[in-house]
Symmetry: C2
Subunit: 145 residues, 2 copies
């Protein structure tokens, strides 16, 4: 079975991030990174793990997602109250968010030019610039009754 031979690439990635390569982290990392760029919610990932017969608690999924995020392996995108996605693409880029479908879509960083950033407040440093272009299916204005 493939789940018994931890891919060296992922293993290295975890070690580099200072995270012990536990069974759960390896399994989740595989789900996250072996399938190209993805946008997943915690609940979703937990579901996928279950489907793949990997036993992981939801708390661990949350822990892992945050650890990966802190380590720079993931990026969190908050789109709505009570809705956030983790993006496996950590390169400089932005997002389309469709309010009708809830779907998120990458926009390559070069396609959005953000010019002349203003000075950040007092003793703070810029961590990141998030650009979210909110779109909506045509003919679906406001809170359609």
């Amino acid at each position: 079975m493939s789940s018994l031979d931890p891919s060296p690439a992922i293993l290295a990635r975890l070690r580099q991030a200072g995270l012990r390569p536990t069974r759960q982290r390896l399994a989740l990392a595989r789900l996250l990174f072996d399938a190209g760029d993805r946008h997943v919610s915690a609940e979703q990932l937990h579901g996928e793990a279950a489907s793949a017969a990997i036993r992981v608690s939801l708390a661990t999924v949350y822990n892992t997602l945050h650890q990966f995020t802190d380590a720079g392996l993931l990026r969190e995108v908050v789109v709505e109250p009570g809705r956030s996605y983790f993006d496996t693409n950590v390169d400089d880029h932005h997002h389309f968010f469709c309010e009708s479908s809830g779907r998120l879509q990458d926009i390559p960083g070069e396609m959005v030019m953000v010019g002349s950033l203003p000075q950040p407040p007092d003793g703070t440093a810029i961590r990141r610039v998030d650009v979210i272009i909110r779109v909506r299916r045509e003919g679906e204005p406001e809170t359609a009754a």
Copy 2:
């Protein structure tokens, strides 16, 4: 008492939005709009109302904030999972969000130049472009233990 004489300006604003000027909506509108640009959470506004001896249920605060938002009187800014603010400034502008303090700060629209927007997906239309510049107090890296 001033709360008995509904300011005509606010009254007109509600009517224009097609919202019946009820006691609660008038009171909340006053709290929101009589104090310049503000960033408030539902919980906060509910608290302010209570302090001002205005009896409003939290559900009504949520309803009202959403109705105002749909009517274009407010703008919702989601900054973190489980944390969203309503901004009384609905002009074209963007935000600094300080992850250390949770504070939000306006950036005039002209100060951030977003060039060449890519085509929105399939049958969708752009509703808005949100730019959030995430900052952090210096010397407070990642999830500092």
